[in-house]
Subunit: 329 residues, 2 copies
DNA sequence: CTGAAAGCGCTAACAC
DNA sequence: GTGTTAGCGCTTTCAG
């Protein structure tokens, strides 16, 4: 910046002001300085600027890893979410800093906050960190979480209406005459718990009994879910439908079923959750509860910027929609 | 840091050294200081650290947009690449800064470099910026590009063996008895040009004539490619196979064909490129030229770190492999 | 082994 | 309008 000042025959302050578009500097001079900087490829050093301004023009996007330290941000849902968030953030002229963190050690969030690398934080999935997040919310404001809305929640969250989604799925299957609908997925993580709630409500509304034997606990990766379903089939408990926590495990279930010579949807109808790109293109195409990630991402970023400028804690629930396809028809 | 120093009864310098694990400070004192910092949630301010050290511990990942300012990092290939790169970078304890840039205005790369927000840069796809990159390479070293290896290239690149891929695809189709194999995709961008080259070589090797009428120029989005293929079918030029630049447009082609009542692979066999997750799960499953993105990403990051520590310009070609599935069998 | 002090590059009072 | 100057929080020489 000193060089540019010398070339323009002015002081450093003037260059700083000109480059910031400060109207105190007359327009012609400003333009001239900007031009000199441009031709010499000069750009303001962001580290120095951030230090001085206490502002980084960066939003941190955090992908929490429950424990699997073994790499791989490969889940299609996460990837799509990251893409959407990046779009929204870039559009507002902020940069995106990607954090992949293992949330088992305490202080993971404090460390990210205190490093001062971002002006605001977006967390994809609250996992089992509700307490941590509530504690943090007391002192750190610019944080928005994708996930379930929980009782006594002090932080900002955006998420789909998971309960409604579960009910929709079960209603759809019941309407198609299915009587023994299994639930496939975790039931402890907040979003999973809500979908499971919706499942139970849906059963009640359809006049179907709840059978604990039909609750199949499954990990969220395709491989593990596939094995779980294979075991479940082998156990011989009769069932004619599956409502899965996510499309990924729903697709794993479809594969396992076909492997075991059960037809989909003939013997077993399958409904997933998310509507990832794959769902539309699988064989058979997957019936699913669609989450509007574009809207979800936009809402998260909107809320974050509100928070960053001092707004109140507001949470949002985005609507879901049943998309009926071949796997249940 | 001053606070921590006061609490520990030492000077700021000592705290700085202790936190950096400097062995000059006796181990017990060091541990004590680290402990105080930890309990008080103190973390070094990265802006200040970066300014002082001229080092950010961050790698920038650049997603170049040819012109479509309209948002959306939605292409599965890009998304998967970003995920893999993020994995590799995080594993080396660097942060990931995502840049989505429109490369139409000159100086896009200089601006990113000069902003000093990253210690090294990874560019996904060289697009039509070969000259720009060559020029930059004269002065800026820590840059690795995913893409084709071009003559007189001064920068570091990592990419698949596109020519081999094209040849493999055509050989596979020719062996299956296909005579009129269309090429679907761009032919100007470097990677596309190489795949097209491979296509022509493959035809020659199979003793098949090259027919310019069978070169179908298509944009890389699913929607536009779908329309292009529909038009091509309507034009009535006979063909019995398609080799597509990417899986995304190959899948668009499959949809368009089925829409037009042509069976796949009966009437038309289709081969894609990339082996995105979707390829395995589509109906019919897509035959494709598989790129090993895990290896590609690892190689890019390895080469980048080599460059960052002053190594020579080295480029790498990663092998491809034909994965035969239902769309061509 | 530890502390004092300089300075990374920038912005914004505060003068003039 | 423009320049002088202090200082953002850190690391590291240099002195002790």
């Amino acid at each position: 910046m000193a060089d540019i000042a010398r070339m323009a025959g002015v002081s450093i302050s003037t260059v700083s002001r000109a480059l910031a578009g400060n109207p105190l500097i007359p327009k012609p001079l400003r333009d001239q300085i900007v031009e000199i900087a441009r031709t010499h490829g000069y750009v303001v050093n962001q580290s120095a600027r951030s230090l001085r301004l206490r502002k980084t023009d960066t939003i941190g996007v955090i992908i929490p890893l429950a424990h699997e330290t073994g790499q791989l941000i490969s889940d299609p849902f996460f990837l799509e979410m990251v893409g959407r968030l990046a779009d929204e953030i870039t559009q507002r002229d902020y940069a995106v800093l990607l954090h992949k963190v293992v949330i088992t050690q305490t202080g993971w969030l404090e460390r990210i906050i205190q490093s001062h690398r971002a002006d605001g934080l977006l967390l994809i999935g609250q996992s089992n960190q509700h307490q941590t997040l509530n504690a943090i919310a007391e002192t750190y404001r610019p944080l928005v979480v994708w996930g379930a809305q929980l009782p006594e929640q002090k932080y900002c969250s955006v998420g789909s209406d998971n309960v409604a989604g579960g009910r929709l799925a079960v209603a759809h299957l019941a309407q198609a005459g299915r009587k023994r609908i299994a639930f496939l997925g975790a039931t402890d993580a907040p979003e999973a718990a809500q979908r499971f709630d919706g499942y139970r409500q849906g059963l009640a509304e359809a006049g179907l009994p709840f059978d604990p034997d039909l609750v199949v606990r499954a990990h969220y990766t395709m491989e593990e879910a596939g094995r779980t379903v294979a075991d479940f089939i082998a156990a011989g408990i009769p069932f004619d439908a599956i409502f899965a926590f996510s499309d990924v495990i729903a697709l794993a279930a479809v594969s396992a079923l076909i492997e075991a010579a059960r037809s989909v949807p003939g013997d077993v109808a399958v409904v997933g959750f998310d509507d990832i790109v794959l769902a539309r293109h699988s064989a058979p195409p997957l019936t699913t509860v669609r989450q509007d990630l574009a809207m979800g991402a936009r809402t998260m970023v909107d809320l974050l910027f509100e928070r960053m400028s001092g707004g109140p804690v507001r949470s949002a629930l985005t609507p879901v929609e049943l998309v009926a396809r071949g796997s249940s028809l």
